[in-house]
């Protein structure tokens, strides 16, 4: 009797597992197929851009070469567009995203520390740091253009850095605050009693424990800044163009340069992947939390 029961039970478990893996498979494909398609597209010659096959017939690096020296291949494409090389937008993007991230995380850490350790200015005020994220971003576009014109920040990487840092600092505050909240005040007090100056307390006790939070919020803010299109499109024209804006510029009179866009998208997705790989140890603690309490 018991045997039959456990048999039925096993049967049920197998079915549940099958369903589970099918769901997982579905989501993997959902994410992986477009990526695979972009990879394939980036190696396709101009003639194959609009074909439905997954494997390029005549794989080529033309699309990649086109990104760096567009004029070389202009003869090959039916219509010659005046396109800048991708080098400058890439450098701009790296500068904008990393500096904005450093500023946001730096300010965020100290605001989070203050908000966690001292009650003022109260949870209400802290909540309103989310204000920049409560309205549709498009609402801010027009006033920003006006301000930035006056401040000569249009088409300037500094303008983008300030904007990205300001808009994302709230994420740093909230994520890092969670980590600092989990540090008992006694740990800091012990350090003070043992002879540490307040800044040493932060360096030796608070920072090491908040590190996963800093890393996670940093990666998050970097990704947001790295992929931001709307404001960059409006606020830049030639000098401060970022990668996403540049990708949107690969459009000619006869249509988008799909191959070049795919190649640029792949190149653009490399830095986040590399960074994510390097810091994955911190990501795991950052996302799962809970290490701190003993």
């Amino acid at each position: 009797m018991q045997m039959v029961d456990s048999g039925v039970f096993n049967m049920r478990r197998i079915i549940i597992n099958i369903i589970k893996y099918m769901v997982i498979l579905f989501f993997i494909l959902w994410i992986a197929i477009p990526v695979a398609w972009i990879i394939s597209l980036s190696f396709k010659p101009y003639g194959e851009w609009r074909t439905a096959s997954f494997i390029p017939n005549k794989p080529t690096l033309d699309n990649y070469i086109m990104l760096f020296s567009p004029r070389v291949l202009s003869a090959f494409i039916a219509y010659t567009a005046v396109i800048e090389p991708i080098t400058r937008p890439m450098i701009n993007s790296v500068i904008v995203a990393s500096v904005a991230t450093l500023i946001a995380v730096g300010i965020g850490f100290f605001v989070a520390y203050g908000a966690s350790r001292y009650n003022s200015p109260g949870p209400f005020t802290l909540f309103f740091t989310l204000l920049t994220r409560m309205l549709p971003p498009a609402t801010f576009v027009t006033p920003l253009v006006v301000y930035y014109t006056t401040l000569s920040l249009l088409d300037n990487v500094i303008g983008l850095i300030l904007l990205y840092a300001a808009a994302s600092v709230t994420y740093a505050i909230w994520i890092i605050k969670g980590f600092i909240d989990s540090i008992p005040v006694e740990w800091e007090e012990v350090a003070l009693i043992e002879g540490a100056k307040p800044i040493e307390v932060i360096r030796r006790v608070v920072l090491p424990i908040a590190r996963p939070g800093i890393v996670v919020s940093g990666l998050f803010i970097f990704l947001l800044s790295w992929t931001e299109l709307l404001f960059a499109l409006v606020l830049t024209s030639s000098q401060a163009v970022t990668l996403p804006v540049q990708i949107s510029k690969y459009v000619t009179g006869v249509g988008p340069l799909y191959g070049a866009q795919a190649a640029a998208a792949l190149i653009g997705s490399l830095p986040p992947v590399i960074i994510g790989y390097i810091i994955q140890r911190h990501l795991i603690t950052g996302f799962t939390f809970g290490l701190v309490r003993t």
């Binding site: 008992p184 006694e186 740990w187 007090e189 012990v190 350090a191 003070l192 009693i193 043992e194 002879g195 540490a196 100056k197 040493e200 030796r204 006790v205 090491p208 424990i209 701190v292 003993t294």
Partner: protein
Amino acid sequence: MSNIVLRLENITKRFGDLVAVNNVSFDVKRGEVFSLLGPSGCGKTTTLRIIAGLEKPDSGKVYIDGEDVTYKSSRERKVCLVFQEYAVFPHMSVYDNIAFGLRFKKLNKEEVSKRVREIAELLDLDELLSIRASKIGLSEQQRVAIARCLVVEPSILLLDEPLTLLDARIKERMRRELRRLQREFKITVIYVTHDQLEAMMLSDRIAVMNKGRIIQIGSPKEIYEKPSNLFVATFVGSPTINLIEGVLRVSNNRLMLSAGNGDILLSDYIEKPEVFREIFNKEVIIGVRPEDIIIDPGGLLQGEIRYIEALGDRMVLHINVFKSIMLRVLTDLYTRVSIGDKIRLRINISNLHIFDKVSGERIINMR
């Protein structure tokens, strides 16, 4: 160097409307174990934090080694605090935890290592030095916290309820350990606890606190034998002291207590009846410790056992005497009694505590 390591003068600390510490003053002598004993919320931990420099008093002065440190930061005071939850840094090894305070002292690496290893050996931590502190047990964490303090050679070691988290067996061992360390280092210890038994066993002197005030300061023996008021009498001692309200009378060397429903004869012969003259016809509360009531066939009180509480090696008999008065009586485990037994009791009059009913203060000393 004077014999006084720590002096608090009229320390007051408010948190909003709450007066956490109210005009507290005391001296602590070098090498003594001084306990702050009181129920939770009595201000003992706040007092400790003021000594450590973690809170600034609203008024009053703190002197350490004769120096006014009231407005100095923690790191400028020669004190160290072991928190109730030990506050061992989980992201560091045991070694780095112990060495933490030495890093701010401009010592070379060899000196740091030498001192850490010395302390670690004393506290039996030498095999744990390389382990991450998040991986060790509670009693080890406590020893790490103590080592981290002792290694910086403070004038005063502050302990905030250090044994509360430990289970009974380890508690006993750590209590002995603390005493041994204190003697070995000849260090002054200020010990905060709500556990009167712990305070009694560890301290040279105890300050009993309630509602932000110090009620009584004295040796464990003094506190136990001459509680200065009802609060101390009831807070110290287990099982709790028996309290009976009434008016004391002496006639023909017989001591009687007129309680609500009649006279209780406490003693049929007292030597110095004049001691009681000042409290004649005054409403008092008398206190009798459970061990000062003795089962005696010739005793003057008669009662019926209502309830028996076993404490392991001893028993507490709850005895109903004189209609509605319940007395707790401490006996050894081998006393042959059972619920419902009628027995006679004798009160050890020389250990009687007499308190004023209105003020709660101790009125006369029997001895």
